[in-house]
Symmetry: C2
Subunit: 349 residues, 2 copies
DNA sequence: CTGAAAGCGCTTACAG
DNA sequence: CTGAAAGCGCTTACAG
């Protein structure tokens, strides 16, 4: 890198490049930005670019943003970042999408704190973000904080009561159906469901999917096979597991609301010497690798599409959500992938 | 909010505020930014601020950054964001520190990809970040990517071979000592250590800490009680657990390299009907809530200070790392917190 | 205490 | 194809 003129910030400016290349600032700008409109001859462009490279020129994004009256920032608001790896996946998806479109994420983690949320929104508006992704770490309905009404917006993993904002959420129903099918397709006919008692998209949707799957297999829905649990964690799963074992005739398979519930169920089964999957086949939900991948036997599960939620919502924002006339907002359902492990018999054949 | 003049971007500018308040742009600027130098009368300042609030004025951060020749951006490079909740904790700590100093994080997740790293660094330099935090999700030595030599830098959870850059890392030795003490302080004298075979700060440090603790308790170090395992996960822990059970006399306590190893150990113990903590006390490391909090019995563990790594490194960067003459770089060790649960007997008394 | 003016580093009509 | 010039929305010496 050659010695170069310096400015206030100690950096090479476009004016420096122009001077050294013997062209005007305007020409340097066009040449460096490779404007499609062929305003600059190939020779000039190559020459200017060579000089820029030689001087180690880097554009000043602040100046560019100001003069273009447009930044390449997208705000991402999340209510948690480290509670689970879920938020991280969502961020990763959003980040990848942002990169694909040459945009930069301004991430704010609010921990559901309203002051932090307000500050985050203010910071984003001050930085002229082109749009905002509002996300939650578990699928739920939200009330939008104020301050977001004047900026292009998309929701990831959450939705508003009136569905007047475009949102992307997991297809809980289809996920519940897939989980149940993992068991029904193996010929199980007495399939229990340990569900959380919260009223949430996940509990309602997964139950609906479970019932759909039963119907499709010609099996009557038996409410007695739906075991409520709360909280939906290892302890709840253990308790529900004990209740499940006292059912007569005993179910041969069970779909657990989530992997932590399955973890507790495993404990209950072990105590009673019930083998998985021989005596009872088990399916979880969430596909938390650290649980599902390490239980013995490893747990078949249905995952949540957090990466895709982040990626799709950001992509939508950048491709459709920025225009003047938005498409009719919808709540778009994203599929939940099935992950087969060893807690269910292999499919015959 | 009153009707206000509009600009290109459709936003209220400082000029609008000045006009409406009947003052000059300069005065508006001073009034709005509450410059300590009392250049503006209280009356004027209050008036201008009232007008600004009335018009819903928000400063344009791009313009401010450009004219001040300084942004409030700090870059944060991480090699993983969703593998574990660790990176999320580190980010959260850094984010909180940034907020405390009115700075904004530009986060890039590279997944250890060198192209992504290069792009991230370029993006950060283009955005005139004031400094960069380079972090890894597990404690290790790193080679710095090029492009970071001209920017204030600090390392979090990693360090360079020559220690010529300030870094913050977990105190593995003290953590290992604390883990062993959790057992030794209960009177255990035959304390095994299931360690990973990788050569890493964690394995080396924790072993050193374990030996220190033994010495302090007047117990001779017995290499036969250090059981190697690889990979350091549930499977490795299970295998090591079986080996441990064949030792004679059998250890009464064991310190596991991490919680996943402990999870596998639990499986081995359960198979043999060995009770925790009555027959064997167990301590893990990492304090991964989803494992340690849910195993039966719950697992005592030593945590890693990811939040603090992020918070301390960012704070250092903003308070000491930005100056012209940096303090002598050091590798600063941060303490690993002990978390007691039920896999160790309660302390008598 | 207040204002006129220059300048930050770019982009982009507008002329030529 | 190339250049002179205005302008983005602020900050900050410098005068008064």
């Amino acid at each position: 890198m050659a010695r170069a003129p310096r400015t206030r910030t100690g950096r090479v400016t476009m004016q420096d490049v122009a001077d050294r290349a013997g062209v005007s600032l305007a020409t340097a700008s066009f040449a460096i930005n490779r404007k499609e409109t062929t305003k600059v001859s190939d020779t000039t462009r190559r020459h200017v670019q060579a000089v820029a490279a030689e001087l180690g020129y880097r554009p000043n994004a602040m100046a560019r943003n100001l003069s273009k009256a447009r930044t390449s920032f997208i705000g991402l608001i999340t209510d948690s970042i480290a509670t689970t790896p879920f938020a991280g996946q969502l961020i990763r998806g959003a980040q990848d999408a942002a990169r694909e479109h040459d945009h930069v994420l301004l991430i704010a983690n609010t921990e559901s704190d309203s002051l932090a949320t307000r500050e985050a929104i203010g910071m984003m508006l001050d930085h002229q973000v082109r749009g905002v992704v509002y996300s939650t770490w578990y699928h739920r309905q939200v009330r939008l904080p104020s301050g977001l009404s004047d900026v292009p917006l998309v929701l990831a993993n959450c939705f508003t009561g009136d569905d007047r904002v475009q949102s992307f959420v997991p297809d809980e129903t289809e996920g519940g159906r897939a989980a149940a099918n993992l068991l029904l397709d193996r010929g199980h006919r007495r399939v229990a469901f340990i569900n959380s008692t919260e009223r949430a998209p996940s509990t309602v949707g997964r139950l609906r999917g479970y019932r759909t799957a039963l119907r499709e297999h010609g099996i009557a829905y038996d409410p007695g096979l739906v075991l409520p649990t709360y909280p939906p964690d290892q302890r709840g799963g253990y308790d529900a597991g004990r209740r499940l074992l006292s059912l007569r005739p005993r179910p041969t398979a069970v779909f657990c609301y989530n992997d932590r519930v399955a973890m507790g169920l495993y404990d209950a089964l072990r105590e009673e010497g019930v083998r998985i999957p021989e005596d009872l086949a088990v399916v979880g939900f969430d596909n938390q690798e650290i649980i599902a991948g390490y239980l013995r036997p490893t747990l078949s599960s249905v995952g949540l599409p957090h990466y895709e939620l982040g990626h799709r919502s950001l992509t939508w924002l950048l491709t459709e959500g920025l225009g003047q006339q938005l498409p009719e907002p919808t709540r778009t359902l994203l599929p939940c992938p099935t992950v087969e492990r060893h807690s269910v018999q292999p499919l015959p054949g």
